[in-house]
């Protein structure tokens, strides 16, 4: 039986790059879709608000694991049998991220005081102008810290992509464990790599939050 060695660490580090790549896809895709969801959640149309609300509830009420299975088997049903694993994994994580980011950002938009809407309205600005020129710039400042915080959640949750056959950091760890059966050293190494990626982001998010609170006094 092989023992855990340098080549295994190298394998893990390469897998960690896949974790980062998948996280980037989830964050960018989920960010775009989530932004649309956030805008829809504060739309003036009750129907649009309701649909976006239902979307958020469904995404937040279903485990990511089930979401990934649904997309994987759903794609197979519509005829995509041999797609690379990253497609299903990416799609699942994009949907998952959009549900949560959309809700985080809605909160940020709504935390801008109503009086700011009113002041902009009284300057004869259109709804779109009010949103883009007055509300969103202020919401963006509030949103930075929780968004960076959620990025950590995304990175950790890419570990579930293994269920659709995507080899990222956790799955790589599992493969090594299957051959060496040294779970402690293998999974602690995996955990350390995750920690090294996530901790700086968590610390940054906290720093941003502190600065915002000081700014607001």
């Amino acid at each position: 039986m092989p023992t855990f060695g340098f080549n295994h660490v190298e394998f893990l580090l390469v897998a960690a790059l896949w974790t980062l790549g998948l996280s980037a896809i989830a964050f960018i895709g989920g960010g775009i879709l989530g932004f649309v969801i956030a805008l829809a959640r504060v739309s003036s149309s009750a129907l649009v608000r309701g649909l976006a609300g239902a979307y958020v509830r469904i995404v937040q009420g279903t485990p990511l694991l089930i979401l990934l299975f649904l997309i994987y088997f759903g794609l197979a049903i519509v005829g995509f049998n041999n797609l690379p694993a990253i497609i299903a994994a990416g799609a699942g994580l994009v949907i998952y991220s959009s549900g949560f980011l959309g809700e985080i950002w809605r909160g940020c938009i709504e935390s801008v005081p109503k009086t700011q809407w009113e002041a902009a309205e009284c300057l004869a600005m259109t709804r779109w102008q009010r949103m883009t020129r007055v509300i969103l710039p202020q919401a963006a400042r509030i949103a930075t810290a929780p968004t960076v915080g959620f990025l950590v959640q995304i990175i950790k949750n890419t570990s579930l992509a293994s269920v659709v056959g995507f080899v990222e950091l956790s799955q790589a760890g599992k493969l090594i464990n299957n051959s060496t059966f040294q779970p402690f050293i293998v999974f602690i190494t995996v955990a350390v790599i995750y920690f090294l990626i996530c901790y700086p982001l968590s610390a940054w998010s906290r720093g941003l939050e502190r600065r915002l609170n000081v700014g607001r006094r």
Partner: protein, 227 residues
């Protein structure tokens, strides 16, 4: 090409689904209770314990919050096995979930404890309350009430995240689904059913928590305003 949906072949498995739901609820309930107690103790230690303990708890919270639950589950399950102790997958699942949720609870509760104004503690002091009385009545209870919504969200997430323990074959809902879909070859239908079951569970759990909150926090019930 068209796909023929067939949910009827899942019908004979209703008992398995029900058992999966039941085990998921049990896993979540046990983890929530233990996680709440453990998290509260950690939060107290983190906020008001001796400096060395504050550091230890702080490090624990950071490690858990910055590594995936899946890796924690693997570490607990395979780790204990390698120590030569035979352990049931369900027990390993509970252990891993508790270790995880204690850290999150601790962080949420600490924020609550820190939100209690110093003047409140001074006021209680001046009224002659003992340290423990002050801590319970003036710090902890309002802190819990204030962070209750955040805790509820965390525990609903925990219920959903318990699906991850299917990866070490704990017999909860997702593991049941994995088995049924390989028996029936009706994968998509199986996961739709299970997805809906989780959705229903998350509504039920959230509802149960809000009823519980109404019973416990009389102020919120009477005034309808958050503390």
């Amino acid at each position: 090409m068209t796909y023929e949906f067939d949910f009827s072949s899942l019908l004979p498995y209703w008992r398995e689904f029900a058992e999966g739901v039941w085990l998921t609820l049990q896993l979540s309930a046990i983890s929530t209770v233990l996680g709440f107690v453990g998290g509260a103790l950690c939060a107290i230690a983190r906020a008001d314990g001796p400096p060395w303990l504050q550091r230890v708890v702080g490090a624990y919270v950071e490690v858990i919050r910055n590594t995936p639950l899946l890796v924690q589950v693997f570490l607990v399950y395979f780790g204990i096995a390698i120590l030569g102790i035979r352990i049931d997958a369900n027990l390993a699942a509970v252990l891993a979930l508790v270790v995880n949720v204690v850290a999150y609870t601790c962080e949420i509760m600490r924020a609550g404890i820190q939100s209690v104004h110093k003047a409140q503690i001074e006021a209680a002091d001046c009224l002659g309350l003992t340290k423990t009385q002050t801590y319970w009545h003036v710090v902890l209870r309002p802190a819990i009430e204030r962070v209750y919504p955040a805790l509820v969200s965390q525990y609903v997430l925990l219920m959903l995240a318990s699906s991850i323990t299917s990866q070490i074959s704990a017999e909860e809902l997702t593991a049941v689904a994995n088995r049924i879909q390989s028996d029936t070859f009706r994968s998509f239908e199986t996961y739709i059913v299970v997805g809906l079951l989780y959705l229903a569970l998350s509504f039920v759990v959230r509802g149960a928590f809000s009823v519980f909150g109404m019973l416990v926090f009389t102020r919120r019930r009477r005034l309808g305003t958050p503390l």
